[in-house]
Symmetry: C2
Subunit: 357 residues, 2 copies
């Protein structure tokens, strides 16, 4: 049954508005009391473009929030508040809205973010969720893409490359689950499966969506990117340039290189992959798909070489996976180098964004 | 031909980013330096819901911005910055994007607002434009809907009621142009037409969309609501409660009454209508359609009776149309009273928002 917008806001979203300036979502504006810099980002996700129509409504909510949290964290900011624009299809059951709101509420709480306002409307088209997120810089500056310096190391922090792309292949049916299992040792695989299941945070467990632990890990990476707030501290302390990896590692590194007027060199062997992604690549999968596929939502940053020891100490303190994957030199563009130092030929660099016809 | 997202941002939207914190739209976040309160609002418009598929792309851009400017102005805030989320249909010609950007740029300049960031993506569905707008309060407080006091006067400022609803009827074909002309004196009508054409600001003139001046006025009210920044000053100086009228005067006054725990009484004869709307009502049109139809985007506020003279002086100074349309008393709900003081029966109060099925 179609649901009334005012009731939805009052009953489902107003309880998430744990911020005085949100005016309990009962007014037309929110009022933020800002002291100093406020970091702002906005990202929208669209059914059929950024998620699939039959993705769980819980993870659609989580993904919409996290792609924005990811932008803030990658810039060394602590997320504080969010605006939600929910454009709901006329033909999607309205009882999913309560599930959406509950999942969003859980995730807002997990990240310490208050909902301060938004807009809800219906559409004859696909579901669209747009979030604007606000954060406070943890450091004195907010690193730009353009701040990479010749001689910097290139780092990744906060997750793995390619898991989300593999997850999308599994979810869309482009790849079968057995493709991941090729040549695998069953005993070892089961031990790994158990380890992955243990490592998976509770909020990645999807009610009603049970998978093999490996497939679950990959699909979760796609459905609800695993963003860690602790990365913001690393960026604030050490980064020259930084950005989140959302369009594929090679594409995003190329953007950073272009903005900074430098060349970025990446050592393929140093890129962090998940166990199933690594096995897939080692048993015939083309690892270039992993580094050009999108949706990783990890943090790419550069830092002076002198910071290596301090960064290693921070990695131990925060139990974050930090990978030094390359370096910045004079020149332009991105090259990915194999174990012999030869450039890996890469044809298609990442998801191509086009608009209209 | 499909257009590349990065080129569109660089060539069409980056020139609108006249704010250092926007980082020329070449980064993932914007950085706002805020001192004190920041008023924030977000509103989305969807093709087939808030505008028609064949509305001029110029006015779609203008409407998307103005519905947000309207929220800020109605709260006594001066608009300063905006984020744009543009969700562009795969089958809409991409060369319209340049026209959209040009019209948005004109309007941003008109309102003194800088574009500081956003997101662009494609969709298999209808066009959707979402804007988040930021403003600085002109007064010490940002009036809520909930701040109406018993004994206050009820005011409208910044425009007329019902013109946009009539404009929509004309655009959608639900009403013929001749329905507006019933019984009219041709000589008088032509004089009025000339007066309207003179009064119409340049930026309401739509290239390639020429109408009779009356029809143009009404359709412009629907296509590109006529929002005046000067209203913000009136609200900041005088308002107890305030909000913009977007879902119909009666519905929005009811929201204000409910939020404030008071009754609002409106005198039908004191509601400001445009000349063609007035004629339509006086020659058989049901004026209740005008006060329950949406999209007016004028400011509804309450103010203490003691402010009447000061408000009248402000009206003269700023050449704004200020209408004292009613009063606040103890009780609940909204009543619209006719010339004899009898309540006008109103069945359907405004646009009904529902989500999903």
């Amino acid at each position: 049954m179609a649901a009334n917008e005012f009731q939805i806001i009052r009953d489902l979203f107003a309880p998430l508005a744990t911020h005085a300036g949100a005016r309990a979502l009962a007014d037309d504006v929110a009022v933020l009391e800002a002291r100093g810099a406020l970091v702002v980002t906005t990202d929208a996700i669209v059914e059929g473009v950024h998620f699939l129509a039959d993705d769980p409504i819980e993870t659609i909510a989580m993904k919409a929030l996290r792609v924005n949290i990811s932008d803030l964290v990658a810039k060394g900011a602590k997320p504080t508040a969010a605006l939600l624009t929910l454009v709901w299809p006329k033909d999607r059951p309205s009882d999913q809205i309560a599930v959406f709101a509950e999942a969003l509420g859980r995730d807002l709480k997990h990240f310490g973010v208050a909902l301060i306002g938004g807009d809800t409307t219906s559409t004859p088209g696909p579901l669209m969720v747009s979030i604007t997120a606000f954060g406070e810089p943890l450091g004195a500056r907010t690193p730009a893409r353009a701040d990479a310096k010749v001689g910097d190391d290139v780092w990744l922090v906060g997750g793995e490359i390619g898991s989300a792309w593999l997850g999308l292949q599994l979810r869309s049916g482009a790849m079968a689950f057995d493709d991941l299992r090729r040549d695998r040792d069953e005993e070892l695989a089961q031990a790994e499966s158990r380890a992955l299941a243990d490592a998976m945070p509770d909020y990645l467990t999807l009610p009603g969506h049970k998978f093999d632990a490996e497939a679950a890990w990959l699909q979760s990476a796609y459905l609800s990117p695993f963003v860690r707030l602790e990365c913001a501290d690393i960026v604030a302390r050490f980064a020259n340039a930084s950005m989140d990896v959302s369009d594929g590692l090679v594409t995003d590194a190329a953007k950073m290189a272009a903005a900074s007027g430098v060349a970025i060199r990446i050592s393929a062997n140093d890129i962090p992959f998940s166990i199933p992604a690594q096995r897939w690549a080692f048993t015939g999968g083309d690892f270039r798909k992993l580094i050009t596929g999108g949706d990783d939502y990890v943090v790419l940053f550069t830092a002076p070489r002198e910071q290596r020891e301090a960064i290693a100490a921070a990695e131990r303190d925060q139990a974050l996976r930090l990978s030094r994957i390359g370096w910045v030199e004079a020149g332009e563009g991105v090259q990915v180098l194999d174990a012999t130092g030869a450039a890996v030929p890469i044809v298609s660099a990442g998801y191509s964004h086009t608009l209209g016809r």
